[in-house]
């Protein structure tokens, strides 16, 4: 009975994913280029936020350094494409694997840590890692490396711009990754993580190896972040240390928390909010006749205020999205 029900749910979820794909495809042809570009950014954030949701919402670990893991993915994708001439999809796979490997190593250290230690260590990572690129000339320094996913195929027509192309690739990658994460979370591993998060002692008694379970979660989360990094590099056509600032790590945590960190569907809401806030504050600042100072700081102000309000009042996500 239970099993059958699960099967139907699975089918429904698959249909929803396909439907979202079709809607996105149709919408992308009818909106302004700016919206398409923002759509691509939303897709990048969706992937990045789902990595945090898996890590924090399910496994109960906190990372302030996922921007650094995105950097690992971004650089891996670029190097594999530039040096080995890997096709785009393969460079994405390389990004996932490289970041996951890095995450696994970090996870071994992180598995022994919790809360504050993990948060501080990942914070240090976010600050320190991107600047390593300045140390090795193969990484191109502050100027970064070019990342060319190529022009859209001519069969898509003359009006099909590069931004549409980015959106399609990022959107497809985000859909596939979300579908995979959805399935992982619904699997035995997802249940183990939640059990270990809610009651470590009981979970350990039930035979779950807490440390290993946490390391696995960190590794998978890092891999997802790696894909987000590769997608980000694609929308920028380059990787540089400055593409992965501390603010990026903070933004994706904010996006995850805003949308209710325990549910995957929240990733879309979080991502849209992250892209919409600068847009809204820009409009607001222009309306107020604001100076550069206002335009530059209003998004940060609003995002941080929202972050505080949401952890203060909905630490487990808004009821609306909660299961």
């Amino acid at each position: 009975m239970l099993r059958k029900n699960g099967g139907r749910n699975q089918l429904r979820a698959n249909l929803i994913f396909i439907a979202i794909g079709i809607v996105l495809f149709l919408v992308s042809n009818r909106v302004d280029e700016l919206r398409v570009y923002q759509g691509a950014t939303v897709a990048v954030y969706v992937v990045a936020i789902s990595s945090i949701i898996l890590l924090t919402g399910y496994s109960g670990q906190i990372s302030l350094g996922h921007g650094a893991l995105m950097a690992v993915g971004g650089y891996a994708a670029v190097l594999s494409r530039n040096d080995w001439h890997a096709p785009v999809w393969l460079s994405f796979v390389v990004a996932v694997l490289a970041a996951a490997l890095f995450g696994a190593i970090l996870g071994v250290a992180a598995g022994r840590l919790s809360g504050p230690y993990l948060a501080g260590t990942t914070l240090a990572l976010a600050v320190g890692l991107p600047s390593l690129a300045n140390q090795f000339s193969v990484l191109g320094g502050e100027q970064g490396l070019n990342y060319d996913v190529g022009q859209p195929p001519l069969s898509l027509g003359q009006d099909f711009t590069q931004y549409h192309w980015y959106f399609w690739i990022a959107g497809l990658a985000a859909l596939v990754m979300t579908w995979l994460v959805h399935n992982v979370l619904g699997s035995r591993y997802g249940r183990n993580w939640r059990a270990a998060r809610s009651n470590p002692t009981a979970a350990a008694l039930a035979g779950i190896h807490i440390g290993r379970s946490k390391i696995l979660a960190f590794t998978i989360s890092a891999g997802i972040a790696g894909l987000a990094g590769a997608l980000l590099a694609m929308t920028l056509s380059l990787v540089t240390p400055s593409a992965f600032p501390l603010a990026l790590s903070f933004a994706i945590v904010t996006g995850a928390v805003l949308a209710g960190v325990t549910l995957l569907t929240g990733s879309i809401v979080g991502a849209v909010v992250l892209v919409a806030i600068p847009e809204l504050t820009d409009a607001l600042a222009t309306h107020l006749g604001g100076s550069e100072r206002v335009t530059a700081n209003l998004p940060g102000l609003m995002m941080s205020a929202l972050l505080i309000v949401s952890v203060l009042f909905f630490p487990n996500g808004p009821r609306l999205f909660r299961r």
């Binding site: 302004d32 320094g141 600032p245 809401v269 909010v273 919409a276």
Partner: protein, 435 residues
């Protein structure tokens, strides 16, 4: 802990916010303008610039956009360009390539500017050219504020116009100066470790100058602490003459730290990091700067006997709140004046293509404050080609070595260094171009 009602209200609020955000994201952008070219309407020409207004590289450069706006406002008050007023959208890129790409995307997709003018930074402009691909889209990027030699390559950057002499030219001319004046001395070099610096290295190599010690620094890493490392290296190598090829905050850190460490050397400052006002503002004691050598392609901003300088100083007083008139203000106003000439040259119905071709065909005759000739021609996007050397006096003014400006010109290749005989066009009447 908190009532159900409060929860519900908050949920409603966050849902409304999300819905609002969604609505905003799918709203159509402003209706397409019936005019012929993006960014040009019957009454306005919209231009954009990315430049560091905040962050480690910002001091000094953040004065450029308001200086440009001051001159544009003066032109707008006098009828604009063929009746259209110029408006400049300014975006802060914090001297970060990624940020420059994002902001240029905004300029083009959201603000829909006609052209980009005066975008600053070597790495930033390279990133923007690759990523936003201005060239393939035919969007002009005029008078980029960098001397990277690559921007003159019209195959790689077909819509980009270099204005400043290249860093290769600067290093070649400086190399000759070193050989003539400091032969036999121990030479040191501090340079920014990116294409800005690699251009300089190429130029010094071309000039046959070998440094006894060279210190690269990563862009953005300059601080009093890191500068201790630079000065330590120079000191232990015994460098007597030090060439500084970095942004102003880096030369500021180098000068201030060597003062603190009691390290004395003959400093030679590249044009990028040699603005005296900014150096003082970032904490360089004036006595350290006194006697240092500087290179420039514009007249000294303190030289009121120059007609361009005195005119721009008048604009600065009236339209720019009378800020300290330094090299950055001068660069901003000079760029703005050349922009107006370029827009006029593109005719009363300007298009992006017309703008590019007008610069190629007429650009070399534009009136500009520079003491160096302008190299624009069909397929050639090289701007200025020459430098003069000066020495800072105790008031921080750069005074020409030998009393009068003597400009030397060269190219970014193997060409010789020659003393220029260029006669600069006179300032247009009232500083308003009539080309």
């Amino acid at each position: 802990m908190f009532g159900l009602r409060r929860t519900r209200r908050a949920v409603l609020a966050s849902a409304t916010l999300a819905a609002g955000a969604l609505a905003l994201t799918v709203l159509p952008a402003q209706a397409f303008n019936a005019h012929t070219e993006v960014g040009v309407s019957a009454t306005q020409i919209k231009l954009g610039i990315t430049i560091p207004l905040t962050g480690i590289a910002a001091p000094g450069y953040n004065k450029i956009p308001s200086a440009m706006n001051a001159y544009f406002n003066y032109v707008n008050d006098n009828g604009g360009v063929y009746g259209r007023k110029i408006s400049l959208v300014v975006k802060d890129d914090a001297y970060l390539p990624t940020q420059a790409v994002n902001k240029t995307n905004e300029l083009i997709l959201k603000d829909k500017v006609f052209a980009v003018v005066g975008a600053l930074g070597t790495a930033n402009n390279i990133a923007v050219a690759r990523s936003v691909n201005l060239g393939r889209r035919g969007i002009p990027s005029l008078f980029v504020n960098t001397g990277y030699s690559g921007f003159a390559n019209t195959k790689a950057y077909p819509s980009t116009f270099a204005l400043f002499p290249s860093y290769i030219m600067e290093a070649k001319i400086m190399g000759q100066y070193l050989k003539e004046n400091f032969a036999g001395k121990k030479l040191g070099l501090i340079y920014q470790d990116d294409d800005f610096g690699s251009d300089a290295l190429a130029g010094f190599k071309q000039a046959g100058v070998k440094f006894d010690v060279s210190v690269p620094y990563a862009s953005g890493s300059q601080s009093a602490q890191t500068a201790q490392g630079w000065v330590g290296k120079l000191k232990s190598a015994g460098a007597e003459v030090v060439v500084m090829f970095g942004v102003t905050t880096a030369s500021g850190a180098a000068l201030a730290t060597s003062a603190a460490l009691g390290y004395k050397a003959q400093w030679i400052l590249g044009s990028v990091g040699g603005d005296a006002t900014t150096l003082k503002a970032v904490g360089v004691p004036p006595y350290v700067l006194t006697g240092a050598i500087g290179a420039s392609f514009l007249p000294a901003p303190t030289d009121t006997s120059d007609e361009y300088i005195s005119f721009f100083q008048g604009i600065n007083a009236k339209y720019n709140g009378g800020v300290t008139f330094d090299n950055n203000v001068l660069v901003g106003m000079n760029t703005a004046m050349m922009t107006v000439e370029a827009l006029r040259a593109a005719g009363s119905n300007p298009t992006r293509a017309k703008l590019i071709s007008a610069l190629e065909t007429k650009g070399s005759s534009f009136a500009s404050a520079s003491l160096s000739p302008i190299g624009y021609a069909k397929g050639v996007h090289v701007g200025y080609t020459g430098y003069w050397f000066g020495q800072y006096n105790s008031a921080g003014e750069l005074k020409p070595v030998g009393g009068a400006y003597s400009v030397y010109t060269t190219d970014s290749g193997t060409g010789a260094i020659v003393k220029s005989t260029y006669k600069r066009p006179a300032l247009p009447t009232n500083g308003l171009p009539s080309n």
